[in-house]
Symmetry: C2
Subunit: 159 residues, 2 copies
DNA sequence: CATAAAGTTTAGCCGAGGTTACATTATCAT
DNA sequence: ATGATAATGTAACCTCGGCTAAACTTTATG
């Protein structure tokens, strides 16, 4: 079971097209990591917008509940979002979106709904669509979102 | 522009069905976070498997290149994966998958390909499909993956 | 065979995002 | 009015996944 001793130097460089292929791979991984990094702020502003619509205001205790996270995590995160000028709040008070935050929230809300609608049109149950969309939404390019929209529209018409 | 002073206490609890809705939301967020946490190890074992197929062995320098990350990041991560018994290696030597790691890698490879094929069948370009799939693959439930597979098969047949 | 180059490891730093325990403040009820 | 309770904040800790700099090992080469 001991791994056989292999040379430390790498094999000779791959062909030209293979090198391009490598670069594309790296781009894919990098892009995915960038999307993951944006996930928190996207979900937070979307949630704040939801809460304001549903209950008139966004309180951190409700955010913690919906996110399934402790209130301390919410406290630390909203401080970062305030530094980024996406939200605004004062101690012991409700949370508000800045214009910048509101605009991001609306883009995220729309995209979220589009992904959910697409998965549903594809035949996925409501529950699974809602759960999967929460992750998928952060990784759909404009091109993919467009293709999803077309499919949803056609499927709706065709039924 | 100062936010109006609002009461600190939250609004009265929502109705029964609304509470269930809250729980589902929390589940969606939690699931998405769990999938994000699994992303690194899934991508690493898949990549190691790819490299072994393509070049006969997996070296950390090649992994760093493909992942678009420093070789030190790879070193730290593979130590974790070894602790989890997904991979095996000795100092200055190539990296091997344990049976557990190999099995995970094969599941991930298959899922990755299915997502790429699905996006392509949907009309997304090869480049965008490859990039988006790298993130989406970690968030597709069995149910969604199944729906994707059905769609891909039908579209292939129908063309 | 000596040494340069390539690859790997180690040490130490950082920010994000999670936690528990405890302190503080604002609202509600008596 | 005041005291209990709910909400918010703060301190201290953790892991993960990035990084740079520097040391070390292995392989290749003159
Ligand atoms: Mn989300
Ligand atoms: Mn969302
Ligand atoms: Mn991936
Ligand atoms: Mn993949």
């Amino acid at each position: 079971m001991t791994p056989s001793r292999k040379p430390a130097r790498r094999k000779p460089a791959p062909s030209r097209s293979a090198a391009e292929q490598e670069a594309l791979r790296a781009t894919a991984f990098r892009t995915s990591r960038r999307h993951n990094a944006a996930e928190t702020e996207e979900d937070y502003v979307e949630l704040i917008d939801d809460l304001i619509r549903e209950r008139g205001e966004a309180r951190s205790v409700d955010m913690a509940q919906r996110l399934g996270v402790s209130h301390v995590t919410v406290a630390k995160t909203i401080r970062r979002l305030r530094d980024k000028e996406l939200i605004q709040y004062e101690p012991y008070r409700a949370i508000f979106l800045t214009p910048k935050g509101k605009s991001l929230a609306e883009r995220c809300r729309g995209r979220h709904q589009q992904v959910v609608d697409f998965l549903t049109a594809l035949g996925v149950s409501t529950r699974a669509a809602e759960v999967d969309a929460e992750g998928i939404e952060h990784h759909v390019s404009a091109e993919t979102l467009d293709a999803m929209r077309r499919f949803t529209r056609e499927r709706r018409k065709g039924s």
